[in-house]
Amino acid sequence: MNLMNAGRKALLALAVPVLLVAAWWLATAGAASFFWPPLSEILAAFADTWFSARFVTDVLPSLGRLLAGYLGAVVAGVALGTAVGSSRTLRGLLEPVLEFFRAIPSPVLVPILMLFAGIGDGMKILVIVSGCVWPVLLNTVEGVRALDEVLSDTARSYRMRRRSRLVHLVLRGAGPQIAAGARQALSIGIILMVISEMFAASNGLGFTIIQFQRSFAIPQMWSGIILLGLVGIALSMAFRAVEARLLRWYTGLRTAQREG
């Protein structure tokens, strides 16, 4: 029964990807287009390209920076978001400034960051933070603002201190929406990992992909894109495992009456 369920779930999860890959395979099989090489060629390139020393010299450093940047962004976004979400004055004061920075594209922002952070790993992590922080920040602000009034009144009436109100009420209550932001930030982080390596880089996954693109190694470039997608899937699976643990109450609450 349980096994069958798991089997069905796996089938459901795999059906679409399998179909899409098949479609891709067929569509490109005989194609002569230089920029759309056959999938078979891409997969061959994938093995050659990534199952090699490159994994250690390019992929791992990138993932390290990604993780550092992502975690930094989540912490910063939640911290700032809670502050901004809880205080109307602070929100009024900061929102336009934040919105201003939010609209600035990385190709313009990065040079400014380089002025302060140099061109090393720190700068790249900062670039990742500068992009990932927004979904977390915005969602945290909105989540904090949307807290149930009765719940915050309860906390006030029992005179919960600021710290425990933050821990036990604000962060947990805004949790579901923070999770939405953190989930958004995950794939943005991967994108910015690539972008950060377009500036002042000499190694990295993104750097390699851009190099392939510039040197017209198109199958290799595609294999890099596929790798990015796979990284995305892996990270989101890890994310969902964490989310499922932290938000178990929420899932229960939201499905309490639905399931049998």
Partner: protein, 302 residues
């Protein structure tokens, strides 16, 4: 290239100009095409020039290959790379070349005034910024080091956009930067020191970039390309003859400070693709591992 006389502007005698779409990078190098347009060389060939700008090969090469634009502008190393991967492209006219005068070229390697680096040979073991890795600038800097007797193997190249280089140099993030105009003039104005002219060190008057089209366009629109070539050559010649006009036209399509244009070192605008330069670049590309085998240059430059 003989004078392709053009009294009758091709097929469009009615004044109806045939459009030709050209994708360029909005930098000093492409001043002749703007000049030529200004001077009416293209209209005289019955062409209505449509210039679109892009930031680099990532956008220009696919646009040319797919026929979305007719002609593109690119450096020769990129084109050698593309050709070696089998992209069907052809160079049709030259674009820019180095002046061939050491210390007075339009690009060079710059260090801070107080830097211990005195010559290209001293760059060994140092961090050098170039605008794109594994391309014309790092291969020529390596060539420059080798020419000066240094060890080109252990230079650490870092990729930085030209506009960001001087700041990085100032902050000490890198030891040297390879810049072109207008950043070279700015650097000199800042008191930085030119330690090598990498293009000059590579070959006497290194051809650097040119205009290219795709095989398909070259055969399918042979007449159009012929007329473009003619007008372009005229433009290059005009640019060579009128350096002041070049400085003037810069103000039109770039945002270079008007006070700076006078002090820019202009490149030369040759009218013949220098086969020897291309061979040199191809050799460097192979030597530095950009390509595994030299492409057939006769296919690239017929």
């Amino acid at each position: 290239g003989g004078q392709s006389a053009s009294p009758e502007p091709g097929s469009s005698a009615s004044g109806e100009l045939s459009p030709v779409k050209v994708s360029v990078i909005p930098i000093l190098d492409v001043a002749p095409i703007y000049l030529g347009e200004q001077q009416g060389f293209f209209a005289a060939e019955g062409l209505k020039l449509e210039i679109v700008t892009a930031q680099g090969g990532a956008a220009i090469v696919p646009a040319v290959v797919s026929g979305q634009v007719d002609v593109g502008f690119s450096n020769f190393t990129s084109l050698i790379l593309a050709r070696s991967k089998g992209l069907p492209i052809k160079v049709i006219t030259p674009g820019v070349a180095s002046t061939g005068v050491a210390g007075q070229d339009f690009g060079g390697v710059v260090v801070k005034a107080g830097s211990p680096i005195k010559s290209a040979a001293d760059l060994a073991g140092k961090r050098v910024a170039v605008n794109t890795l594994n391309n014309i600038n790092d291969t020529t800097v390596r060539a420059s080091i080798r020419a000066a007797g240094g060890d080109a193997k252990n230079v650490t190249f870092t990729e930085l956009a030209f506009p960001d280089m001087l700041a990085a140099l100032d902050k000490g993030n890198v030891d040297a930067v390879q810049v072109v105009e207008p950043f070279l003039a700015t650097a000199v104005k800042n008191g930085d020191r030119v330690v090598a002219s990498n293009y000059v060190d590579t070959a006497p008057s290194l051809a650097i970039a040119g205009y290219f089209t795709s095989q398909q366009t070259a055969t399918g629109k042979a007449d159009l390309i012929k007329r473009f070539t003619a007008a372009m050559l005229k433009s290059l010649r005009y640019a060579t003859d009128n350096p002041d006009a070049v400085r003037q036209v810069l103000l039109k399509y770039t945002k270079i400070d008007a006070g700076l244009t006078g002090s820019l070192t202009l490149p030369t605008f040759p009218t013949k693709v220098d086969r020897a330069s291309l061979e040199t670049l191809a050799k460097l590309a192979r030597q530095d591992g950009l390509v595994t085998s030299s492409p057939d240059l006769t296919e690239l430059v017929p």
